[in-house]
């Protein structure tokens, strides 16, 4: 971006896709093989069920509709919780980023929230909000909130004051317009890394809410089958959860690239 930057057009950083896909597939196959061998050596379906058994359990759960319903419940909870984390995180992030007083008075509490394990919040949330949908959404919100909040705060605080000046000099007026059109826009790379972190933590919060607050969704499945030691069903429930996490991260990555073409 500096004056010294060459006039060369940005080189797209695309790895050869086919090769990457092959590498992924090869690694997954090796993992499956190791799993199969390991489970045979152990000889215990309780400790490590063979992949075939997990696949069968998955097929069964899918056929009975259990898995689909659970996934739907989990996804709804995740989306609501993340949306709430975004809204609350933006509001308090802007406040903390733009006001010294808000920074000094509020940020210790959010720092505390960041280091408390989400499970530890369950009893409090239960007492305050009950174990209905509201309480579960609150758990996901609390899990995902701080990364959003901190990245928004850092973004609007550090956003280049110079570009705000530029916008003002061309007649853009009002703190809100400057915030949205310049400060937040300049902070997008930071916001995106915050979002990535928030998604991961929200998935954990979701599993916690579903297995500790009231059984339901994927977390409920894991807890249910875990307590009756049906390990292959536990695996069958964990797998889609992992895929969900990966899928959401990929989604954030997609948005990130859409916004970040200007960054090289």
């Amino acid at each position: 971006m500096s004056a010294a930057a060459a006039a060369a057009p940005a080189v797209p950083r695309e790895r050869p896709r086919l090769r990457a896909a092959l590498q992924h597939a090869a690694f997954a196959l090796a993992l499956l093989a190791a799993w199969e061998i390991g489970s045979r050596l152990l000889g215990s379906a309780l400790l490590l069920p063979p992949p075939g058994a997990v696949l069968a359990a998955m097929a069964e759960l899918t056929a009975s509709g259990e898995l689909v319903v659970a996934l739907g419940q989990s996804l709804l909870l995740l989306v609501l919780g993340l949306a709430a984390a975004l809204v609350v995180g933006f509001v308090f992030g802007v406040l903390i980023g733009r006001s010294r007083i808000a920074y000094w008075t509020l940020s210790p509490y959010f720092s505390a929230l960041f280091v408390i394990p989400t499970v530890a919040l369950v009893p409090l949330v239960l007492v305050w909000f009950g174990f209905g949908m509201g309480g579960r959404v609150i758990i996901v919100l609390l899990a995902g909130l701080v990364p959003v909040l901190l990245s928004v705060a850092a973004g609007v605080r550090d956003a280049p004051g110079e570009l705000v000046e530029v916008a003002r000099s061309f007649g853009l007026r009002g703190e809100l317009r400057l915030l949205i059109q310049v400060r937040l826009r300049a902070a997008v790379p930071l916001l995106m890394s915050g979002m990535r972190l928030a998604v991961g933590r929200a998935v954990v919060g979701m599993a916690v809410a579903e297995s500790y607050l009231r059984l339901g969704g994927i977390g409920g499945l894991i807890r249910n089958y875990g307590s009756s030691f049906q390990t292959e069903y536990v695996f069958a429930a964990i797998l889609p959860l992992t895929l969900l996490g990966i899928g959401l991260s990929a989604l954030v990555g997609l948005v990130e690239r859409r916004f970040q073409r200007w960054q090289t």
Binding site: M1, S2, A3, A4, A5, A6, A7, A8, P9, A10, E162, L163, E165, V166, A167, R168, S169, F170, G171, L172, R173, V182, R185, A186, V188, F259, R261, W262, Q263, T264
Partner: protein, 280 residues
């Protein structure tokens, strides 16, 4: 200076002073950046501003742009006091000030869109000015894909896009290599000549100050006051002959240098910091 001018000034800087709190908190004292600056700039005039670094050149320009409020005095444009920024006084920034996430076209369209121009009209105008600075082919590039000189051409196109009466330029070519800078000086003169626009152009380059100017304003070392206003009566257009070889050019340059040199020598031996005002 306070006598009525023959023609009403485009910009009148009236007793402007500006103080800054010294950094580090507490009341460590104040820096006097500008003190009692009076200045009239005629319509269509090209004024260059030169002075030792830290003498308040940027501060003066920002006050004319209403990006900073003066602590005393005021700025009048067309006889009316101004108090908020406007694309009528368009700025060109030393570090270009382009929005990195916007394309070149979007950057130039920005002031037009702020003024609520319809998209098609804004696009047409923006493309026209991109054409004038030779960058129509780069409309859909992002700033980081352009060289420094090209980026500043975008900055110039953006400033010109709203057809402002006044152009305020803060060392616009300071971050650009010497050869490109000469090209851009010529381009700027071509764009300005006959446009009727009033330009205030801050520079630390003596040659540039004389080459471009109708008048050169020399600010004294901190706190900045008007040290001298020197007319440059060299024939225009100045791009089709070697201005620098004219005796008129070298005379003015030498005069400016001898005055500037005193302040620079003083700054070297006393270090930066507030100096007593009115020493001369």
């Amino acid at each position: 200076m306070r006598d009525p001018e023959p023609a009403a000034p485009k910009i009148r800087v009236d007793g402007v002073a500006k103080f800054f709190e010294k950094g580090g908190g507490g009341d460590a004292g104040q820096v006097r950046a500008l003190d009692g600056v009076d200045l009239d700039i005629a319509p269509g005039e090209f004024l260059t501003v030169i002075g030792p670094s830290g003498c308040g050149k940027t501060t003066l320009l920002r006050i004319i742009a209403s990006l900073t409020d003066p602590d005393a005095g005021r700025v009048l444009v067309d006889g009316k006091a101004v108090d908020s920024p406007s694309p009528e006084r368009a700025m060109v920034f030393q570090s270009f000030g382009l929005f990195p996430w916007k394309t070149v076209l979007d950057n130039v369209r920005f002031p037009l869109r702020v003024r609520k121009a319809p998209l098609s009209e804004a696009t047409e105008t923006a493309m026209e000015f991109l054409g004038k600075v030779g960058l129509a082919d780069f409309a859909h590039s992002h700033p980081h894909q352009l060289s420094g000189g090209m980026q500043q051409r975008v900055g110039l196109a953006r400033a010109l896009a709203t057809d402002p009466d006044i152009l305020l330029m803060d060392e616009p070519f300071g971050a650009i290599d010497a050869q490109t800078r000469e090209l851009m000086q010529e381009e700027l003169m071509r764009l300005w000549q006959g446009s009727g626009k009033t330009v205030v152009f801050v520079t630390h380059d003596l040659d540039e100050a004389v080459l471009l100017a109708d008048r050169v304003l020399l600010l004294s070392r901190s706190p900045g006051t008007v040290r001298a206003l020197i007319p440059v009566d060299l024939p225009r257009p100045r791009w089709d002959y070697d201005v620098r070889a004219l005796p008129g050019f070298t005379d003015i340059r030498a005069r400016l240098w001898s005055m500037l040199r005193d302040d620079l020598v003083f700054a070297e031996s006393h270090g930066p910091g507030p100096a007593t005002a009115g020493a001369r």
